[in-house]
């Protein structure tokens, strides 16, 4: 358990946002935390479509049940979030 900041680049948003999460969070939980600061704030909701996460520039999404600590991401690394 450790607080871990990431930089969220949410599809459709105009600004990178600091999102505090936890190393024990799954990527589904990380995506939900990022969504809280973008969806319905600066990005329209797309109900029913899951939000996925991938390393910036990657085409491969992280598995939803992967833990943040297993991704190899460092503090404040930028993660891309998008509606599947």
């Amino acid at each position: 358990m450790a607080l871990f900041p990431i930089s969220s680049k949410f599809e459709g948003d105009f600004v990178l946002k600091l999102v505090p999460v936890d190393t024990e969070n799954t990527m589904a939980e990380v995506a939900a935390a990022a969504a809280e600061h973008s969806v319905g704030v600066h990005v329209p909701d797309q109900p029913g479509r899951p939000i996925r996460a991938r390393a910036e520039g990657s085409t491969e999404a992280y598995p939803l049940d992967m833990k943040l600590s297993e991704t190899g991401l460092g503090p404040t690394d930028t993660v891309e979030f998008y509606f599947e």
Binding site: E11, L16, K17, L18, H37, V41, H42, G74, P75, T78
Partner: protein, 498 residues
């Protein structure tokens, strides 16, 4: 009384120069203070300032300038601009005075350093006038907003801003420390006088003066043109230095200094000029868009000055031209969203008519930045104002100190490096390039996010951040300039049928 022509005695009178015998040249002009290393000693005395003025002339002309500006102010004081002007215009005044007044006073130290440390006698002489100019700019731009403090506490930032840790202050200090305060006299003159003053200050101090006159604020219009008439003179300090560097085999160094200063100035002016010109100035009085003013003053006029010296456009020219359509729109969305962090009340500037104007000036705006505004407008209209202010902080650039923004779906990206084990984030390739030009210079600075994550800001939440920035301390933070009246058009449009 018949006076000699100035040209008959000027060169002799201003060339106060001697050869030291008790100390070395390097002790008289320490390289770290004087700069211009590698330029032969005998070359310095050939520095020929293009804009010549004597002390007698200076005092006479400056008196006329002050008389003009102060008499317009006095004549219009009873006109009650504060209550009659559009609130968006008042926000421009708050932003301008706070961002500018103390910086100008700081610039008098920059000029004072030339007076002492420049190795060129002509430059020391001209810089004396430049130093007095900048004192005038500091004083007059503290005095003019003073009449508004009794009406609105946010005007107190005119004096307080540069001493605060507001995010804009962090950006301004980082910029001005880099450009004005921490390089040798010769290098500073190229960054500050040539790139910043002959280039970018025109944008705010002349471009905005037209909008001011149209908005009925003749006091401000007169004031900023008066200030710029000083700048037009002392900004010329840099040109002969550039010439000397180029002629002595230092063209690459000169180009590098300009490339750094140009981008840094441009990004700063997206906040100072870009946002106000395209969003705060009432639609009916806008003279030109920010991009059009940039094309007039920078792309055309300033670039001609650079090329006239035999230098080139900055290497990132194509990036810059694209950025003119993008960056300040993102910064406006950011400043409006995080409006509690401002000391002014931002105008949204996105009523249906204003959006038409934006779409005309920046084709594609509605499909990109406009989409984000649609979400915010929906929140306002549907009674969810709490969703219109983000619950976290933006990521911030380690050079510009501004939020890392981009065109939604097009150009938002992180640009980062790891240097000596620390991760740095940048708002563009050019900001990263600037860092890499001299990491030792930039590596120690902590941006707002570094401070927040490092535990320097307590409590570590948004309230703690606001207090750290001086909001609720110096004055209340920002809220919509027009009390959200602009939403009425959308309420009608979005009202459920029946």
């Amino acid at each position: 009384m018949a006076l000699l022509e100035r040209s008959a005695w000027y060169d002799l009178a201003r060339s106060t120069e001697w050869t030291p015998s008790y100390i070395s040249q390097d002790e008289l002009f320490p390289p770290e203070m004087s700069g211009g290393e590698g330029i032969p000693a005998e070359v310095w005395s050939t520095y020929d300032e293009p804009y010549k003025v004597t002390y007698r002339e200076y005092v006479d002309v400056q008196r006329q300038k002050d008389e003009g500006a102060y008499s317009v102010k006095a004549a219009l004081e009873r006109a009650d601009l504060y209550n009659k002007a559009d609130p968006g215009w008042i926000s421009i005044l708050k932003e301008h005075y706070a961002a500018v007044a103390l910086v100008e006073y700081g610039a008098s130290f920059q000029e004072a350093r030339y007076v002492r440390w420049s190795k060129a006698p002509g430059m020391r002489n001209m810089a004396t006038f430049g130093m007095l100019d900048e004192m005038r700019h500091g004083q007059i731009q503290l005095y003019f907003p003073h009449e508004y403090i009794g009406k609105d506490r946010q005007f107190d930032w005119s004096h307080q801003m540069m001493w605060s840790n507001n995010w804009v202050a962090l950006g301004a200090r980082h910029f001005f420390d880099d450009m004005l305060m921490t390089r040798g006299a010769a290098e500073t003159s190229i960054s500050a006088n040539f790139a910043f003053e002959t280039g970018f200050t025109n944008l705010q101090f002349i471009g905005l003066s037209g909008d001011a006159a149209n908005a009925g604020d003749f006091t401000f219009s007169k004031l900023i043109q008066s200030i710029q008439s000083d700048e037009a003179r002392h900004a010329q300090l840099g040109t002969p230095l550039l010439q000397m560097m180029i002629e002595n085999g230092q063209k690459a160094k000169a180009q590098n200094l300009i490339d750094i200063a140009f981008w840094r100035s441009y990004r700063l002016f997206t906040i100072l000029s870009g946002i106000p010109m395209d969003y705060y100035v009432p639609l009916e009085v806008r003279e030109s868009s920010f991009k059009e003013f940039m094309e007039e003053w920078i792309v055309t006029q300033f670039m001609k000055s650079i090329e006239d010296l035999g230098l080139s456009k900055p290497w990132y020219w194509d990036i810059f031209l694209r950025d003119l359509d993008e960056h300040h729109h993102g910064q406006h969305l950011g400043t409006y969203s995080w409006r509690p962090t401002l000391w002014w009340n931002p105008a949204a500037g996105v009523s249906p008519e204003e959006r038409d104007w934006l779409e005309e000036k920046y084709p594609g705006w509605n499909d990109t930045f406009g989409k984000v505004w649609d979400v915010m407008i929906d929140n306002f209209v549907s009674g969810r104002p709490e969703k219109t202010v983000p619950g976290t902080l933006p990521m911030i650039c380690n050079v510009s100190q501004l939020p890392i923004v981009g065109t939604p779906g097009v150009s938002l990206k992180d640009t980062s490096i790891v240097f000596e084990g620390r991760k740095y984030h940048f708002a563009s390739e050019v900001d990263k390039w600037i860092f890499e030009q001299d990491p030792e210079r930039y590596k120690h600075h902590k941006n707002l996010i570094d401070r927040f994550l490092g535990g320097e800001i307590q409590p570590a939440n948004l309230d703690g951040v606001l207090e750290y920035m001086g909001l609720g301390v110096i004055s209340p933070g920002g809220d919509d300039a027009h009390g959200y009246a602009w939403l009425e058009a959308y309420k009608t449009a979005l009202a459920p049928a029946g």
